[in-house]
Symmetry: C2
Subunit: 389 residues, 2 copies
């Protein structure tokens, strides 16, 4: 049985978790939850028996970080695919599928963001295992999270029927629901027929390529050209910028998933978060009585339901009388935000960028500089297109 | 006419304004309101025609700071009296009075804390001028602030009668009121017969010494000995530690003022704050619409009635959705406190001290190292005690 190849998407540079996420060090490479970075946790979660070396899709700026952080947890990606520019998930996934298909026509891939929290890795691997047979039959297996609240920040998946339980097994998928308004989210939560869309899916590389061919044919040639004309160096595949710029900047859900019919969904109920904003980080980490999450040199008096972290050695943070607050100090940046307003972090960072500040030189200096990895696997960069078209 | 000698009390090391006030750099030496430190503002406020060079009472740790900050605003204290230990205001004021009396039996002194805000310096000098005649007649002239709210954090002064206005002129003082509870404060505010006790007073040195002789005789010999046995060096008078340790640790109000009968009060209505906590700092500085006070590299979104300041070069502070919050970042310390809980800053600092942290080496390095001043006025450290006893 071919092992599953994780395809980790690491190109993003979200700012909603500023100052722990910035263009210099996007959140997937930050230690947001513990000693491992989110990317490292994703790598280890998708490793072990039955798993092939991962393919990592990232940007040039993060290439060394991605390689080094993988090395630090004992994992060597078989290929680091470098996007010349960020063009959302669809081109990135298609490029990875084309690359893997060129290596192995039967390649089975698990596409996953690298910045999510899934505390129970074994349970998640079991859910993936539960979807393998469907994927081998040509299905695209999505993973739907059992909802625990009427979340308006996520996309949802509509099931063909209400399951009696949320045990991991393939269920029919009726459709995708974009981020809903609160009343709709409440109705979906109550109905038991909806799951959160995790953005993770399992399929054979050929199934993915065929789906693009069927629903986003215009993306095929730009992406295939970008892979064929890629500059190969050791473990790295630098996609051709000229071709890549012609690939549509679009999400895989919109480009392909919402149109495909060969989909199913495996429920997952063991805990998941997209860690999309500081409220999500707080929610993921809170366990202490009083809802307090602290990290680093922090002193609190009369605080509740708040997150306070000082990530700079020797910087003492004192919080007094805080409720529902997020306080994060790292390098040369300090965020103090009410939890109900964490969506505005993005806007604040935009304002800082306009003033060319807050892009945290302090952080950059903390990123370990890369060393050239020793491994190198030859790569055939002429995919057998004829097999597809 | 003998000019008035300011006696500035600078020995305190309050922590309620941490991290802008610490043992390393007490608030009087910090730039809390603007470019000048509070101490520098006090020095310049009490200078010019009719004013003699000031006497500064401070601690050994702050001697260089006090000298240098004075020099930076073009003022050379005639004497820097160094207390071997902090023993509250009574011994400090008596020591200064004894010292000044030894220089000039007719010395007229204005005793003032060095950490208050009095934006209208000219109005304040006019109020002092209005009290001069009474002081020359042997009165201790206190200065009472027209109250603008039912403040429970201040001591109050009871007038002999309700004044029709608050123009600066000597009025009879009926008594002192300790920090009141809210209902009492509200009643005092409504009555119009009460003023806030500023802790500032004007009197001849001999009047002060006589008041101690009458009401706190036990303090006379320890303090006089401490002055007589002081170690003199250039502009500095290091009080004798042995004698000083025998002087009672007590406030001048309790030791003398509340017992004296030769008191009067000059009202002052032009604005004053003791800047006792961060709420007071916010109140003093607020003027912008929305009650926002920001200083340094600060970005705010959807904030109101809050104070945010970043006093470290290059540190970017972002506040989002904050109401009634105090955020102060300086050196290696960050305070985030709800305005209603600023009294707990003291407790937080006590906890930090217990862990031997937060005493801000970053701050210490920022204090300009002292240079030996060029001026030196010979000092006769044998006061003519016989003239008093």
């Amino acid at each position: 049985m071919t092992p599953i190849t994780p395809v980790l998407l690491c190109g993003g540079s979200g700012t909603r978790l500023w100052p722990m996420s910035s263009k210099d060090l996007p959140k997937q490479f930050g230690r947001l939850l513990g000693e491992e970075t989110l990317y490292q946790s994703a790598l280890t979660r998708l490793s072990g028996p039955g798993w092939a070396a991962p393919v990592v899709v990232t940007a040039d700026d993060y290439l060394n970080i991605a390689r080094d952080q993988a090395k630090a947890v004992g994992i060597a990606p078989s290929c680091l695919i470098v996007e010349p520019s960020a063009r959302n998930t669809a081109p990135a996934i298609l490029a990875a599928a084309v690359h893997l298909f060129s290596m192995d026509a039967n390649a089975l891939v698990l596409v996953a963001p690298s910045d999510h929290a899934i505390p129970d890795a074994a349970a998640f691997r079991a859910a993936v295992e539960a979807g393998t047979q469907s994927a081998r039959k040509g299905q695209i297996v999505t993973f739907g999270i059992r909802p625990t609240r009427a979340e308006t920040g996520y996309g949802w998946l509509e099931l063909g029927e209400s399951p009696e339980d949320f045990l991991p097994r393939p269920l029919s998928l009726k459709g995708f629901v974009e981020k809903p308004k609160t009343p709709q989210a409440e109705a979906m939560l109550a109905s038991g027929k909806y799951l959160w869309n995790s953005g993770i899916f399992l399929a054979e590389a050929r199934t993915l390529i065929a789906a693009f061919l069927a629903h986003a044919e215009h993306m095929m040639m730009p992406v295939i050209d970008a892979v064929m004309d890629a500059k190969e160096a050791k473990d790295t595949l630098h996609l051709s910028a000229t071709s890549w710029s012609k690939a549509e900047d679009i999400s895989v859900d919109v480009a392909v998933m919402e149109k495909a019919t060969n989909l199913c969904v495996v429920p997952f109920a063991a805990g998941w978060s997209d860690l999309g904003d500081w409220d999500a980080i707080w929610r993921e980490m809170t366990s202490e009585a009083g809802g307090m999450v602290t990290h680093g040199d922090v002193t609190v008096i009369g605080c509740e339901d708040s997150l306070l972290r000082s990530d700079t050695q020797g910087v003492e943070l004192v919080g007094i009388g805080l409720t529902n607050m997020i306080v994060v100090a790292i390098g040369d940046a300090i965020l103090v935000a009410h939890k109900s307003r964490v969506q505005d972090v993005k806007e604040a960072v935009a304002r800082l960028s306009a003033r060319s500040v807050g892009q945290s030189e302090g952080l950059r200096s903390r990123i370990t500089k890369g060393v050239v990895p020793l491994f190198f696997r030859p790569h055939n960069h002429r995919p057998p297109i004829a097999a597809l078209c």
